[in-house]
Symmetry: C2
Subunit: 368 residues, 2 copies
């Protein structure tokens, strides 16, 4: 997976990888072999920690998809039709959504190549990503929604279908900020005056930080995660970190589901373990809300539900959360039995988060 | 509810209305009366069609909230604390989210004035809107998320805390478009080259229209509704219609829940009937997906679920859907028992929607 931003090269490489897949089938046919495809297994038991990259990646286990059964043959047929569609899409410099691909298959001439449901077509695109080593974005497959925004002292150039746009993410945007495009690899970072990146879970808190001028006062690029972050949001965060050499900190609610949001920024998910090097920012640090904050600041809280407790217990077992910090915090949370939202900081006034909480935490963490 | 965009005037008026509320309590106390507040009833039985405005508004029924019971007295106490908070917020030119208000109440010195849950504080803000005739936006209360975007031949000026921003919604934005701010009354429309407004339910379809250049080919302002539209999205749609004198058409999935999305753009909702004149665009027309389209274009579809059928039957009874068009379409849908998504048009190719479906429908409707 390339992290450069030369779009044409990425597209050419994507197309070549796809065509190579088809050629392999062709060679197998020509050699009198039953066509087959090796696919790395995408399950919890097949993710391993890559010490060098600091991320969880797919292990060595593979399964073979072969045309020696009717089911296997149909799957390979669908793969070939999908590859043809994607190669044409890249030729024509078009793009499409995962859902459009599913519906489009209804127009394919071979009924057996049509998808039964969207899970099947989504799965196939993931298979093609894993097998080809090319990301969905480079196939020009868009998600249904991206939607996250960015605000901060950063000037960028986005290549759009209508020409290049140079945008300063404070001076050229409204209060809503800069809308991250579906494929952030169309962006070049031109100039910046930022000291760090702050990823924020909720819209309410993002708006609070922007209203209070935190991005200008602390030279911060505020990235709105909008709950579980879209791939585009994780990708641009990683690129900001890698290319501008800026620390990344993540600010979420204080509950087990939000720790997973941090985890998906920092370590990637099992579902996208084949993309960890493209999407994950292992150096990202967690600001809060920590269970410790709930206690120290006596924040308004809700009791943990049964599913919260289960999620926390499962995080205690999760290799990605096996650090002293997380063990201590999660055990504390199970002990106090409480969770708090980031906006609960408002119980100490609307400026508490920007005047006291974040400056204190960020300086403890050595970020400011 | 004012529809002009002079922010300072709106803020001053909001503050005056709030102070007037408190003065009324003061006068009641001074006159030896038990303080009370008249609140219009917000229920299905108390909405009536305003023939002049073409929208559903609250009827004449009122209830009285009086301090003659402990519960009533506590509610009035909370109102007074909230009014004080809002008046200060306006003085300081600050803003806050509904959730922040709920948490903030924990810092109030009178324990009885603190909210028990966020439903209670949300409800109170709605009460204050109804009673004062001022919108939440003019109190500077933000929603948790706004999130929708706009793309099209429109130049606007947004007043932000960092100064004015002049933005052309095609030339100065990336592929993601212009992010609509939480309070679109901070916007002045400067110039445009648009023939109509197209409101689109899903992100996938919004991206398709933008990729295919529909906004440039047909001089269209594409507004992404993002499912059930936020108030900011409905407000800017109404202002685009009223101030630029442009037709508004709504393009959604073909199912009962999407017809309600159209309904909320065109007629407003029961919950926000007190805001219909501020948010609703009664002249908005529905493009599709119509049940008739599902049949005529033989679109990929799913069978109606029981809850779909119930929702359609309830729409047949809904005064807002009592037109020949809707009666015919809903009865047809119950008859064929199918629903289709807007992206199902991709089964006829990625360009079908922009080359054929929309041009045909819009010309039938007299929009182009």
């Amino acid at each position: 997976m390339s992290s450069d931003t030369d779009i044409t090269t990425d597209e050419q490489r994507a197309r070549e990888q796809l065509v190579r897949l088809s050629e392999r089938f062709y060679d197998q046919f020509a050699g009198g072999d039953v066509p087959s495809m090796e696919i790395p297994t995408r399950s919890k038991s097949n993710i391993v920690f890559d010490e060098d990259a600091g991320v969880w990646v797919l292990g060595d286990r593979h399964s073979t998809r072969s045309a020696n059964s009717v089911g296997g043959a149909k799957k390979l047929l669908k793969s070939i039709y999908a590859v043809e569609f994607l190669a044409n899409q890249l030729d024509e410099d078009r793009s499409s959504t995962l859902r459009e691909l599913y519906y489009l298959s209804e127009s394919w001439d071979n009924e057996y190549a049509q998808f039964n449901d969207q899970d099947e077509s989504n799965q196939l695109i993931e298979d093609l990503e894993v097998v080809s080593g090319v990301t969905r974005e480079d196939f020009h497959m868009r998600p249904e929604e991206s939607g996250a925004t960015l605000m901060g002292p950063l000037e960028l150039r986005e290549q759009t279908r209508r020409g290049d746009r140079v945008i300063h993410c404070q001076e050229d945007v409204g209060e809503g900020g800069y809308q991250i495009p579906n494929n952030p690899d169309t962006i070049d970072f031109l100039d910046h005056d930022a000291d760090f990146i702050l990823c924020v879970e909720t819209g309410g808190m993002r708006d609070r930080l922007v209203e209070n001028g935190f991005d200008t006062d602390y030279n911060t690029i505020v990235v709105h995660l909008k709950g579980q972050p879209a791939r585009a949001t994780r990708r641009i965060t990683k690129r900001l970190h890698d290319e501008l050499d800026l620390p990344v900190v993540v600010f979420t609610d204080g509950d087990p589901w939000s720790y997973r949001i941090y985890g998906s920024v920092a370590y990637g998910s099992i579902k996208s373990a084949h993309l960890s090097e493209y999407l994950a920012t292992p150096a990202a640090k967690f600001v809060g809300i920590r269970p410790q904050d709930i206690r120290e600041y006596d924040l308004p809280s809700d009791p943990l539900s049964d599913s919260d407790v289960n999620a926390l217990e499962s995080e205690l077992e999760d290799p990605r959360f096996k650090s002293d910090f997380w063990t201590e915090q999660i055990e504390l949370q199970l002990d106090i039995g409480k969770k708090s939202e980031q906006q609960a900081l408002a119980s100490r006034g609307l400026d508490f988060v920007t005047d006291e909480y974040l400056p204190t935490r960020l300086s403890e963490m050595g970020v400011i």
